[in-house]
Amino acid sequence: MPLARLIPCLDVSGGRVVKGVSFVELRDMGDPVELAQYYSDGGADELVFLDISATPEGQQTMTSVIEKVADVLEIPFTVGGGVRSVDDAARIIESGADRVSLNSAALSNPSLISAIAEKFGSQAVVVAIDAGDGVVHTHGGRNATDIETVAWAIEAASRGAGEILLTSIKMDGHRQGFDLELTKKVRDAVSVPVIASGGAGSAEHVAEALRITDAALVASIVHENPAGLPGLRKEIEACGISLRPTRI
């Protein structure tokens, strides 16, 4: 298997990186292009950008952010948030993103997964699952569906998803560690790689996740101290996880 990946996630709204406090107040965290470059220099293996504006104007702004990021970034990046059609995915990939991440739209229209995979390849399609109490949730984790998490992961992969981005609603934002049990259950059920998300509060938490899965998504732990990324990588490696050798 390739080396474990550490993936900072940036929420973008109105062309700025924002950080939500209890889902309401959004704090400005800076310019996405600058922050992306900074994380790339600090050894991020990949980046995820989530467009949380979900408005037509927001989409246009996002397209220009993607183009600017693609012009400076020499690591892969995924873009999600409001991807509802093959055209949305095409716009994102043609603007320079490597992969798109689907969430609610894939649930209401599962054939969207295969349609995008056929056009751009499975490696370009990530299906994001917000999981809680054994079932998939929509609308940023607020609405529970009756779809079972593991069953949905299996279906998404069989329809052409090249990776599952699995967020535990219970653990998200609490910085008490990832939901390892859920991550293991989903990863054992599918044959595509799985990114664990939600709950990273320390290097040890990330290492725990990377012992059982392919990649870990991190947000506040890096956003609070962007300069600390190289140090975080060293600490994760000290826990016995091999990350890619970086030249800094």
Binding site: M1, P2, L3, A4, R5, S40, D45, E67, A70, D71, V72, L73, E74, I75, P76, I93, E94, S95, G96, A97, D98, E118, K119, F120, G121, S122, Q123, G162, E163, S191, V192, P193, D214, A215, R244, P245, T246, R247
Partner: protein, 184 residues
Amino acid sequence: MSQVVVVDYGAGNTRSVRAALRHLGYDSVVSSEPHLIRSSDFVLLPGVGSARSAMAHLNSTGAEDALRDRFSEHGPILGICLGMQLALEHSEEDGGVSGRGLLRGKVEKMQIDRVPRLGWSVVEPWNEAFYFAHSFACLSEDVVATSEGITAAIHRGSFLGVQFHPEKSGPAGLSFLEKCLSPA
């Protein structure tokens, strides 16, 4: 400064590879014009699109014949991912596609635990980590580098193909591209 042609398959994203070239100080143009492919200093086949539609586009534009001519005249060509796979004789992708056959070998779906194979992996004997994102891999007698036992690079004459994405592999990828381009 010499010019690089990034070959157009009629689909997908060539922005990243052009950004990497620009970063290294190379001017590039995206084209499937046969005369440009024959005469430019360097030709790069990017890793975007599906095997069948890319091959169909190359055939219909005359780019395919121009690539063969370029190879027989020893003009340097770098193929990335799909751009490498199409240089072999046959690919299993998209229900079976005939390749260019510049190098002997074939492309098969990988039989490994997790597909697609996504992430950074150390390439030997170069001892450098690059980014991979693929479901198919090359089987060829012209393999010059591997990662985890999987073909990472093939080389014959003026053609070099790599499975990884140098344009997505940070400083290691940029140095690799620079080395490839330096005679150009």
